[in-house]
Symmetry: C2
Subunit: 268 residues, 2 copies
Amino acid sequence: MSTEKNFHAAPSGVSQDPLYDPSIPTPSHAERAKTLAASRKSGALSTLAIDPAGHPYGSLVTTALFEGSPTFLISALAEHTRNLRQDPRASLLLAEATDDDPLALGRVTLLGRCEPLTEAPATCREAYLEAHPDARYYVDYGDFTFFRLTVESLRYIGGFGRMSWVSAKDWYAATPDPIAPFAGEITQHMNEDHKDAMASYCRAFSKARDFDEVVMTSVDRYGFEVSVRTKAGARPVRFAFSSPVDGPAAVRKEMVDLVRRARAALGE
Amino acid sequence: MSTEKNFHAAPSGVSQDPLYDPSIPTPSHAERAKTLAASRKSGALSTLAIDPAGHPYGSLVTTALFEGSPTFLISALAEHTRNLRQDPRASLLLAEATDDDPLALGRVTLLGRCEPLTEAPATCREAYLEAHPDARYYVDYGDFTFFRLTVESLRYIGGFGRMSWVSAKDWYAATPDPIAPFAGEITQHMNEDHKDAMASYCRAFSKARDFDEVVMTSVDRYGFEVSVRTKAGARPVRFAFSSPVDGPAAVRKEMVDLVRRARAALGE
């Protein structure tokens, strides 16, 4: 985890004091990248073409993470496979599902060497087939081979103004956020049923005062964020959990504790 | 346009005689690729990294076609821009929107040189801003520049078993299919309201006889395809228009003429 000073840079370059304590922990870029990668089943593989020699070549691949490395089940007939046999240097771009503004979304480019696993461990095969059940129809064809991208570095972009290079060491040490698969449901539930509680959090534990709406925008293992609508526009506020959570039940407990403490602090 | 012998290869390798005249014209791979590219607003750009030098680097870009070349409005601060300033070799991967089986979808890799347009023509700027209205907020920032990918060759993959390399000449000569923006509506309408007409087409103008359902699967400027459910499984049947069509009204006229001729041929 990390703290981010310019977590939400004002797009116009106007500096505004944050409405919350910027030392509140946030997921590190390695953790955000790993979480994103764990959620994606396809991406764009960049390799070096044989003809024209050394020309960057992008292709669509399906993928699954195994022990932190992207794996692929690819055909000897495919261009990218021929390219990798000639030169293993590659990168894999994984992006959040596209909507109207793709540049606002998270994406990660994993750089490294992508080499065949002559004897793919059964656990690798299982991880891949769990993500791609249809691949069982061709996994045993002679021309399909598992390849693994050993990550040497990566570029993470979390949207406008949140980006960095991340080391292989930090990538392999990071784990996907255990809350990510439930984040959509949790934010929807909070926004539908608990706006009052979130307003109390803001009044008790942030500098947000003069706001007429509060909306939860994200939740992760370390805490959650809301957007408050003030006269100066929408402003983010982040809250920390008392300790990292491991699932939705723990999030619920944190939310209930927080509203109790907020209401006590506010004398409500 | 072209004719494709192995248009629908049997996935198991079993050879089956087609139920229709395989000389019926179909869109060429250049046309299919151009149609796909014209429909996409973002893709994966592959460039050569500065550090590690020459390493293939994939990044997300928004794009618009201008005079047949993909254009980009990119920041001097971005990795891909720095890469292109050092070495203009690049490729752009554009893929149909993802669903459960991305490998079944069409995609194209355009290879070429991607260079800055020091003075982007007003028409280029307009084409880009029409596709990306939000870019008007930063189009005049000093660090944003238009780049253009001049296509030198491309790899088209239309799904399993339909793929080829296409020349730059064929790419620049091809035009996007004028029916593509309406294809979803047309197939939905035919499948909801005109199954009887499509069954007549099949009985009159194909070898399909013993089928219990017919579903339109695609339509393009040269004709359309249906899938008939036979005892041997789903089989494709293609029909030609009398001449290439330029819009939905012309498709409608072709469909009405075809059902009249089919019913006359069948003595209905």
